[in-house]
């Protein structure tokens, strides 16, 4: 939807703003098909891709989580389905699909069914702002990060709804904790993101990534400002709380609330919440990668971009296809690989933390959010801004 309304409909000229799918479709368009239909098709393709991406991420992440947990705990983890159990998520998915669909008797049926949908839909919306490579993205939103923050904050409502609709006291506890926790941590999350935003000067993920391309692709924001690393630690902590990961997994703290807001859920509805959790982890890790660790930029991406351009002609309708050089196919592929590796490195870090640390109590979660993270992130923003000012004032702002 956003892709449709983002560019003015009347103006035909630069349609895709460099988006590969949209460019391809526009190139193939016969005269009789209106432009908005092409853009709608492109948007639908993007939605399908986002759904597939979420499923893939969730599948790989569950496998990874079980493997990481297993090996940290001197176990193997899943081993039987496929090589080292890599097909286990599919087996689990089939099992979850075939499970009996249970809705508790006292539950509010409408809300009970609706809440997994809301949770997953809001995350799908957030995925729209994610750019996978410089020329492959769903919707080029100027306020990309802001959009992601806004959409992921909506999942809270879904979780609260799940807890309420289950009509179980444990679920209610889970949803109350979720509401309190997310409200508390959205503030430090946003403020700690301000630090790279000050340096980057843009909300857009692609532009932020492009700003880190110097130094052979290693001119990342973490190296640009001394306040960036503490800001990243604060951001990481806030992300753990936002995605309900241990040590902040209070909404579903197993040992206290049985399963929290998930207590009454089973089967595929239950798995929707987990898909959301893992996709949110990936998404936030990607945001962290874009705004702290160089986004698409790495020495590999830089090397590919430096190659001499090489194009092949694919006929009149499609036009030319760039194989090497900046903005080429190979460049995009390397960029995709870079960002995926970086994002999964973040996911791995979250898992590592989860399997190492105990859970925090709810009042300590509040204390940590309001008394530690928020002021510290404000200090970081102030320091980063002053540092930038001083840099520009005394060194001519060559950063």
């Amino acid at each position: 939807m956003l892709a449709v309304t983002e560019t003015p409909l009347a103006a035909p000229a630069p349609v895709g703003d460099g988006n590969l799918v949209l460019d391809l479709l526009t190139g193939l368009r016969p005269e009789s098909v209106p432009l908005w239909a092409v853009m709608a098709t492109s948007a639908l393709i993007a939605v399908g891709l986002a759904v597939a991406l979420i499923s893939l991420i969730a599948m790989f992440s569950t496998w990874m989580e079980r493997k990481v947990a297993g090996h940290i705990q001197c176990r193997y983890g899943p081993m039987h389905v496929g090589w080292h159990g890599w097909l286990q998520p599919i087996a689990d998915g089939v099992k979850l699909l075939l499970k009996e669909d249970i809705i508790p008797k006292g539950a509010d049926k409408v809300l009970f069914v609706l809440s997994p949908a809301i949770v997953l839909a809001s995350l799908l919306g957030a995925m729209a702002a994610l750019a996978l490579s410089p020329n492959f993205f769903f919707a080029d939103i100027d306020l990309g990060v802001f959009f992601i923050l806004a959409m992921t904050s909506t999942t809270t409502i879904g979780v609260v709804m799940a807890g309420w609709a289950s009509n179980s006291k444990w679920s209610l506890y889970g949803s109350m904790r979720e509401a309190a926790q997310v409200i508390a941590y959205e503030v430090p999350l946003g403020i700690s993101l301000m630090v790279p935003l000050i340096v980057a000067g843009t909300f857009n993920l692609r532009e932020a990534s492009a700003a880190q391309g110097g130094w052979y692709g290693m001119h990342w924001f973490v190296f640009q400002n001394p306040f960036m690393l503490p800001a990243f630690l604060l951001f990481f902590t806030a992300v753990l709380a936002e995605t309900k990961r241990a040590p902040f997994d209070l909404p579903e703290s197993e040992s206290e609330l049985v399963s929290g807001f998930l207590t009454e859920y089973s089967g595929i509805r239950w798995s929707f919440f987990f898909m959301e959790e893992y996709a949110a982890m990936f998404l936030y890790s990607a945001v962290g990668a874009f705004f702290f660790f160089g986004g698409f930029e790495s020495p590999f991406t830089w090397a590919v971009a430096q190659m001499a351009p090489h194009t092949i002609d694919l006929g009149e309708t499609i036009g030319t296809l760039k194989l090497l050089g900046e903005g080429s196919l190979l460049h995009n592929l390397v960029a995709v690989a870079t960002i995926v590796v970086k994002a999964f490195a973040g996911v791995f870090l979250m898992m590592w933390v989860r399997w190492s640390l105990p859970r925090i109590r709810i009042d300590q979660v509040m204390t940590l959010g309001y008394k530690y993270l928020t002021p510290l992130s404000m200090v970081c923003v102030l320091g980063a801004a002053l540092f930038e000012l001083a840099w520009i004032r005394f060194f001519g702002g060559a950063s």
Binding site: M1, L2, V4, T5, L9, W36, A40, G106, D108, V110, L111, I118, I141, D142, L143, F146, F147, L149, A150, M151, S153, T154, T156, I157, V160, M161, W164, N167, K169, L172, S175, M176, A179, A180, V182, I183, E186
Partner: protein, 216 residues
Amino acid sequence: MVPASSGPGPIGGDPNLQRLFYGALALLGLVALVAGGLRAGAPGVAFGLMALLTVGGALACVWERSVVRSAFALMATFMGTAGIFVLLEADFLAMAQVLIYVGGILALLLFGVMLTPPDLGERKLTRVLGGLAVVGAATIWIGMQVAGSANFSGQPVLTPGETADPVTAKDIGVGFLAYDQYVIPFELAAVLLTVALVASVYIARRKRSDYAEERR
């Protein structure tokens, strides 16, 4: 903390009434979508959808008997409003709307509302009638105002000599802070909200005499 189902009967009230209401809502939505599509193509459909979310959410909020459901219906209203902001190319406003209203205020609202036991006598005609009269009068007045001033031809209204670059909603979004004319009302609204918050806490406060009774 009383669960939703503690009242007599199903949560939503009479199932037939529920069906009637939501059927009418779906019909309204269909009308909105078709009308929008016929009038302005794809953006029209998008607007119809957003209008349905906004208005339907508001209606469901008023209709629903369970307070928590009402609060959840509010989410649709907020999202619809955000969508309309997007259609008006006020992206920042839309996202701020979602972030603050859905992620923040609605969650806080739910926090409070979930602690409230359901009011079983809330849909009595005598109680609803007064509110209905006020709301109806307001609707009629706003409708008349809109009908009098709206431009249905689709063409921009230009006074002779003015160029076609009017103030967009995007500018209004920024203007809340930039233009002097909106700052005072904005701040006043903030003060009013704070006062309301403090007042509600004061009303909900447990008095010492209450303890004394319970301790006995």
